[in-house]
Amino acid sequence: MEDKLVINGIEFKSRLWVGTGKYKDFDETARAIEASGADVVTVAVRRVNITDRKSENLLDFVDPKKYKILPNTAGCYTVEDALRYSRLAREAGVSDMIKLEVIGDEKTLFPDVIGLLEATGILAKEGFTVFPYTNDDPIMAKRLADAGAAAVMPLAAPIGSGLGIRNPYNLKIILETINLPVIVDAGVGTASDVAIAMELGCDAVLLNTAIAGAKDPIAMAEAMKHGVLAGRLAYKAGRIPRKLYATASSPIEGML
């Protein structure tokens, strides 16, 4: 049974998308990504170290021919900065995809959705495949869809918090409100969080810290892979309704 995720004509081999930040070294990054089975890896755009040219390059370890590279605009607090980083990313990279972040506050790293909406509209018109990192707000998801987003990426919880899916009902409403893929981005802590997101019907999950910050990142990467697969299968299978009282699994007939 084919169950492929396709966005803007791009076919994705896995519904688990992973970040490349916070690892011990590039070797660990590469091994964790491999274990996760991810097809999409996110990266940040930063200045080249021009004084130490012997420093290793991420792309020597994460092959762009093997993985889809999704640059982000992490650290951007204004529309202008987000646009600047997006355009640089497109020039440096191999695709028009951008994980768009316009951050509103250092403490929460919650998105500034007003700036996000503006930047989404501008970049979509410039031909970018825009993946906006947004709140779990169905109305904003609708506005982002109308502005030309390729998918929406509502947060599960604050970035790096590991709190898991804080508002499954809002995610459910987002899924029913917009006709675009919904990718949960940020805040998951462990494999069951990922499974819950997928069981709700989300199309994919993007995470970084939950793997990179685990005691054994390689093992957690594999757990996340199974979490996504289990959650997706359960969603497709259709869970039983929740009931307050018991229903016996064994027949009454034939009892002594």
Binding site: G19, G21, I50, R53, L58, N72, R87, G93
Partner: protein, 66 residues
């Protein structure tokens, strides 16, 4: 020639074009994006783009991020 590259003043730059500058700095051109005075220069134009005294450059690449 004096240039400002990634926030650092660099004196005695010998390169005349962007392509030559990347060679001088030992940077692989296929993995970076470059702004000169806040305008992006397309990769295809690196060999013809001529640098001027005092140009401000930003040379970026991809690093680990979430």
């Amino acid at each position: 020639m004096r240039l400002k590259i990634n926030g650092e003043i660099k004196d005695n730059i010998r390169a005349a074009t962007l392509k030559e500058l990347l060679e001088e700095l030992e940077i692989i051109s296929g993995r970076v994006a470059i702004e000169v005075n806040e305008a992006i220069v397309k990769r295809a134009d690196y060999d013809t783009f001529r640098l001027k005294e005092g140009d401000v450059l930003e040379i970026v690449n991809f690093v680990g991020g979430g």
